[in-house]
Amino acid sequence: MSAETPAPTVPTVPAASRKAQVARDLADVPHAPGAPKPDAILVAEDVTRTFGGMTAVDVDHVEVQRGAITALIGPNGAGKTTLFNLLTGFDRPNTGTWSFEGRSLGRVPAGKVARAGMVRTFQLTKALSRMTVIENMRLGATHQPGENLLTALVPPLWRSREAEITAQAEELLARFKLLEKKDDFAGSLSGGQRKLLEMARALMTKPTMVMLDEPMAGVNPALTQSLLGHIQALRDEGTTVLFVEHDMHMVRHISDWVVVMAEGRIVAEGPPETVMQNQAVVDAYLGAHHDTDLGDDSLLTDDVAEQLEAEALVEKEQR
């Protein structure tokens, strides 16, 4: 296969209106856990995972809309990352089935899941630190005949594909502003740059769906904006994005749909503008301060923080 392989089939819609298009598609979807989507790319059914006596994940039904940015949020320990690990084949469920593009992927090993077009990144970045940036990128490419033990010994058999891969890698690196670092060891990059590299490397596989596990964790504010831009650009090119995130500001800013988990279950679903008002979310996730906007930067000032602490103290005493 050549580098000119067409990108995943995209509905012929100009990039700028993709967000509006997705919003229209999702307009009629009920705001309820497990709501069916008009064009679901990923459908999971009855997925459970227990660790000893603790049920980490217990999801009855969930669907992810094709071409949309879906955020998976929830308090710490809600089972978001465990669900991620299950869906991408990095962990085995106790029960459950799920299909990706109509293909059953339950209990399929991680490598095969990625080859099917569902590629993930990790919460703790896994840049291959003692390899150069460009080698990291090349590793992501698919259909390199030189990755076979015997073909590897005859360079003419894989050199032309390698040149295509390198061109693709440099193009992506340029987009992620890492091109001038291409010959540096990945270990010498900053935390934020590693996140960018990991995302760019995942894109080398030309995925249909990317799963980002806390893409903003540990990224400095200057890079946050560019990461947000990259994620939106993915959607605009027709890639489906599912991400786990704690930063409400970001969730509100870029996602088309929000799925809320608490204690292993999906407790609410809806568009980002309204899901925060859902009573189940308020109870499970936002606690006493449901009427404050967690995405509001003014929360970060000392006055507000002190006021909240005081309220929390009062609440504790009342108990």
Binding site: G111, V119, F122, L139, F185, M204
Partner: protein
């Protein structure tokens, strides 16, 4: 002190068949550890199983090429048996299993009930299996000397074994050089760094680790043949110490490099010979007997390895940024 004799002995080690055999074994271990990050502490097991395979097939009257194939096939089977249960687990489990498996090979080989096949703890005498190999030699009978090196052309410890041994080392270096620069080598390197990351990119990590284990083990089996050819197949001389010499050689020369194992092997054996012969000349026998000096030689090698790990963890040829033993 007789410097001519000392230097002749030291020079002899540079091209000795044993040096070539250890270089080959270390090249195999480099595929495991340097390229893939697999901690194989049973390389001597691969060598011993290769030596047994070759010797037993030769004694059964098989031609040399077929005997070599038998040795390699034994290594492949051994690698599969080791790898199937352990490669799905992480990291250190492989090292525990390999060190035990190598011991099992040695203990089974020397067991009395297998004397009819493996010669028990006496092993297989060299003359019983090396005839077919020596007959292959195109060299005329007799001796040949150049500089400090003078050996018979075709007998046990001959030019013929040296030529074949070092030709194999050269061939191994060439293929490793090709593999290291290939996309296949890149996947292995990725696995060495973080196998989950490689898995998330759609590669079958298990299959790649198995390929590396088999390939490195096959190099080990061929090394075992070269090691046995000038002497005999003696299970007790191919036990745990042998594995650790191979590790010393790899770390000394530099893991994840093409020529590191070769340089490491030459350095280890020449240094050891130099220390032993010099000490035998200067230390009076009333202070230390010859066999004690032999032991002292190994003590000094151990000391060198410790200093190396502390002050140059990447080995002589290694790139510290790429692969070093993390001591701090």
């Amino acid at each position: 002190m007789d410097w001519t004799r000392i230097l002749t002995n030291v020079a002899g080690e540079i091209i000795a068949p044993t040096t070539a055999a250890y270089a080959l074994a270390a090249i195999g271990l480099n595929v495991h550890f340097g390229m893939t990050g697999l901690l194989n502490f049973g390389q001597a097991g691969f060598m011993l199983i290769g030596a047994y395979g070759f010797a037993i097939a030769s004694m059964a009257g098989w031609p040399v090429w077929a005997s070599v194939l038998v040795a390699m096939a034994c290594a492949v089977v051994f690698a599969l048996i080791l790898g199937i249960p352990t490669l799905k687990l992480r990291g250190d489990y492989l090292s525990i299993v390999t060190i035990a498996a190598a011991e099992i090979v040695r203990l089974v080989g020397r067991s009395t009930s297998l004397t009819w096949l493996t010669g028990g703890n006496a092993g297989l005498a060299g003359d019983s299996f090396k005839g077919s190999f020596q007959e292959l030699s195109p060299l005329p009978d007799g001796n040949f000397g150049i500089g400090p090196w003078e050996y018979s052309n075709n007998l046990s410890n001959s030019w013929w074994v040296r030529i074949v041994g070092w030709a194999l080392v050269a061939l191994a270096c060439l293929t490793i050089w090709l593999w290291m620069r290939s996309p296949w080598g890149r996947v292995l390197k990725g696995i060495r760094e973080d196998e989950d990351a490689v898995r998330s990119l759609g590669k079958n990590v298990y299959s790649y680790k198995m390929q590396a284990l088999i390939l490195g083990g096959t190099f080990g089996a061929v090394a075992g043949i070269i090691y046995a050819l000038p002497r005999a197949v003696q299970p007790d001389s191919m036990g745990r110490p042998m594995t650790f010499y191979v590790w010393t050689i790899l770390l000394l020369g530099g893991a994840a490099t093409v020529f590191g194992p070769v340089l490491g092997s030459i350095l280890l054996w020449t240094t050891l010979m130099l220390i032993k012969t010099v000490l035998r000349d200067v230390v009076p026998t009333t202070v230390m007997r010859s066999e004690q000096i032999e032991m002292l030689g190994w003590v000094l090698v151990g000391l060198t390895l410790m200093l190396l790990v502390i002050f140059r963890p990447q080995g002589i040829l290694g790139d510290r940024k790429e692969l070093a033993i993390d001591v701090r």
